[in-house]
Amino acid sequence: MVGIEYLLLVAGMGLVTYLPRWFPLFFLSRKPLPRWFIQWLELIPVAILSALVLPDLLVAGDPRQIEWIQPKSLAALPTFLFAAKTRSLGGTVLAGMLFYFLAERFLPS
């Protein structure tokens, strides 16, 4: 069986994860937001996507450093071009997996 200590641990982890997910949604969606704030929020998704994906592709190792030549970064350029050309989410995911598979296979490690 699962111990009470572990249950309290995951409940605590769950609570501190849930609150930041819920708080802005709950309070900001109650009333109309000021125009400038909406215009600022419109830039947030692109900013988050870019802030998530670039380190994922370019930064590796411990301690972290920029690695230009590794499977993830090498596969990124053709994946990016494929996405820009086709604008297809599913197609890009499959193509990206293929590019990564090839990069891993043919890059001497």
Partner: protein, 238 residues
Amino acid sequence: MRDSRKASVSLKEVFEAVWPICVGYFAIGAAFGVLAQKAGLKPLEIGLMSVFVFAGSAQFIAVSMLSSGAAAASVILTTFVVNIRHLLMSSSLAVHLNGCRRRFLFLYAYGITDESFAVNTTRFREGRWNAYNALAVNHIANVVWVGSTVAGGFAGQFIPAGSYGIDYALSAMFISLLVLQTRGGIYVITAILAGGCSVLLSLFVPGNMHVIVASLFGATAAFGIRAFLDGQRGGSRW
């Protein structure tokens, strides 16, 4: 967004949106299950953590902290810091879910992850999405995550790691969504500023605070640049 609340779920469109997340979650979830099992967690315990927390990177960090004997309080505090970036995603989603009922928002908030946020916000922006489709994406992704982590805990060693480029599914999904979201100069500027700042910060700041700091910086700087250019041109918009 009033119309988006009346519309119902389109399973076909939801599936088209969610399957890349499912592929990625399967790969990462199974890997997490294997790791957690090796750290001494039972499948039921793994499942409970996935249900309560539903956040990949935080769960990986928590398990590695637990196996090195960290105290519960420090695991919870670390989880909070790792997941505080959701504040920003939740704020941004509020624009699209404005006026939804409280009960709906309680359910919706649970499923906000990097991946569901990226997919849903792109479709909302394209104007072909409604709140229920988005909620369905969140919860299907959740079921796949919980299932994959538990499966990894049961049968970890039998799931081949890193085959067929599956590890790249989420990276490719983010690249594609970034391209789809970047329409027009101001978005390109935002992406370059936030991405560049994020890479630099990640080299010096441990953990993943670089994501939220770089996003705030990129969006705010681009917002300022646009306001400045609008002022110069006498109010014309990009």
